[in-house]
Subunit: 391 residues, 2 copies
């Protein structure tokens, strides 16, 4: 196990009706003038936005609003949010929505207190300072409610990139599983896939002797294996929604990823797909992960055999561990398909003829040097082959 630091100071309020405490928590964590940031549609239609406003008003808090966050959130709205916060002297940002809304809020929070262009943080500069943010989560997926991370797409060049820093961890996050019950099955499945991807990305490690984090990751994968089909079968299954919601937070607050190297190549390979085709990130991951895993499997067959046996219930083939390893990848892909996720480029809406462009942006875009690093370092030829495996 490698040396590490871990810091997860977010206060979580979990359960039914907790969104009505939003005002109390904003006050508790020092906010006086709030930006409510959200997407649109369901947050408004469901009456959630009105309940949140009522909660702020009850505490005598002022607020301004900025809606319009889209999936794969864009830099344009971030710049707009930064200007609005400066003009209105906002001192707290309340994100009401899923990962896209929270990530957009984090970008605004970092940008407001920074003299330069906020995009600097998405090119590798650590976020040391940001406005405090709170979240009311409506989709179990990105884990942004408990993470120090944010992913934004820059319209110019369609670069989808991530920023990080403990200053981006929310002060509080409100997790009410009821709020996720209206989510359509496809988005629910895409969210479950994203959660499982956060676990696999941590599982694929070159560090040795990491039993405790291996076991924790497997525990969360087993939870998803049990709960995701239950919630697809019955979207109103509160208990399944609740278990997924906590698993999604734990999968990405990093407590199960400490002290070990990680992968994240599936994420960056997928980011080019959702940037170009605007598909759901989870759906892109459902197509990307099996291809990546089959491509890199021989780098550490026993690791893939371990997850196959411990999570997917495969019987260990002691003479041919690679058979077990592959069975585990097959079982994972079948599982994702059973949830309603796409299995290839065609179902995702991606095009074979775009592969050269995808590889170019992935490996050379925005200052990259021709490779992406993780569990295995992949060059342009590797990435081309991986995209071709998804056809």
């Amino acid at each position: 196990m490698e040396n590490f630091t871990f810091y997860s100071p977010t206060f979580f309020a979990f359960g039914k009706g907790t969104e009505n405490q939003a005002g109390e928590y904003v006050k508790q964590f020092g906010g006086t003038k709030v930006l409510i940031h959200y997407g649109g549609g369901s947050v408004v239609r469901s009456g959630l936005l009105d309940r949140v406003k009522a909660s702020l008003e009850k505490e005598g808090l002022e607020y301004v609003e900025l809606g319009g966050v889209k999936p794969n959130p864009r830099s344009g709205l971030v710049y707009e949010g930064i200007d609005l916060c400066k003009k209105e002297e906002v001192d707290f940002i309340l994100a009401v929505g899923g990962g896209s809304t929270i990530d957009s809020s984090k970008a605004i929070a970092a940008g407001v207190v920074y003299d330069g262009d906020f995009w600097d943080f998405y090119q590798g500069k650590t976020v040391e300072e940001a406005l405090p943010i709170g979240t009311i989560l409506t989709i179990s997926a990105a884990g942004s409610e408990g993470s120090p991370d944010s992913v934004i797409t820059k319209e110019e060049g369609m670069f989808k990139r991530g920023a990080s820093g403990n200053a981006l961890r929310p002060k509080f996050s409100i997790l009410n599983p009821e709020l996720t019950q209206t989510l359509p099955p496809y988005q629910t499945a895409a969210g479950a896939t994203d959660i499982m991807a956060h676990l696999y990305e941590r599982y694929l490690t070159n560090s040795t002797e990491v039993e405790v984090t291996d076991r924790l990751i497997e525990a969360l994968l087993l939870t998803m294996k049990y709960e995701a089909p239950r919630v697809i079968a019955d979207p109103n299954n509160y208990e399944a929604r609740a278990n997924i919601m906590w698993a999604g937070m734990m999968a990405h607050n990093h407590s199960c990823g400490v002290g070990r190297s990680q992968d994240w190549n599936s994420h960056v390979i997928e980011h080019e797909l959702s940037a170009l085709y605007d598909c759901a990130h989870g759906a892109g991951l459902a197509v990307t992960m099996p291809a990546v895993f089959r491509y890199v499997m021989n780098h550490d067959v026993m690791r893939f055999a371990q997850v196959a046996v411990r999570v997917w219930g495969c019987e260990m083939n002691f003479e041919h561990p690679e058979v077990t390893a592959l069975e585990g990848i097959d079982a994972f892909q079948k599982f994702l398909i059973s949830l309603g996720m796409p299995k290839n480029f065609d179902e995702l809406g991606a095009k074979e003829e775009d592969i050269p462009k995808l590889v170019e942006v992935l490996c050379r875009g925005d200052g990259r040097d021709g490779t992406i690093s993780g569990f295995v370092t992949l060059n342009e030829e590797d990435c081309k082959k991986i995209y071709q495996m998804m056809i």
Copy 2:
């Protein structure tokens, strides 16, 4: 799953050499005048205390010292610490040691800023305010380095009681597995038992639909099952020590116990043993848990069968699940004995003739009403039978 809040704002620095950053962290978290609180013996002999002092001096921090914490820490030293902190105007407490030292530090931290008797907090009053504390952990066991809890024994009446409150969560905790390598095998095994007890106490629940926390608890039990024998076989196995150290923190920072009712009857039944005989808490638990589990097993046979199958590798007896449940308890007890833990009153140094006194203090002492509540509510007769099962 039940509604809950969760807040774990402790900063963790984990790995080799991290104790040398103690001064930096004290400064970062606002300390200027420090009480270094410790036990004695090994912390001094190993040179750890000198390294910690050097680290504080490097940052220009003033400090005073209070050693002498004993296992099952006493109220007498807490009063002494409170007086010292007030006199010296200490604004930060640095605990260097195991759970006893950290718990004693927490009691002092709460008492310094409280007008009444600090013991009020150990009779049920929540700790809302305390001096900030930091820890340098030398024993993987109590989980106090990441918990909001403290257990102290009051000399008058020998009551061993707990206090709690988020204000007691350390600002930072330094976890260097190397510091645990000099620990004798018996203390190492007692620590491992305590960690597993924290997991079992959370596992024994009357809440339903708690897959995510069930799986997380099982993950940490599986880790201990693998790593504890390795560290008993080779005390210098850094990797095993490291995995146990993070498992011990995760077992008790409560992230795997949220949204579910818990037991803790084994703990309170044991507390009377370590209060009266001054045995190691973990050793007491090794004798207590199997007796409690066998006594309450029929309250939920399937729960005990589940842990038997998932953790202890027992084959499920579908016709007689109670056979599997009992096999799991037997396997757990055999495991503890294999680590070097005692199996009965005699090996623990407890006496059959004391049972009436143990039951009296347990069920009636310090304002209790004749029962203790948890997974199953137990009355004086139940507790008597449980103690008798330990003979």
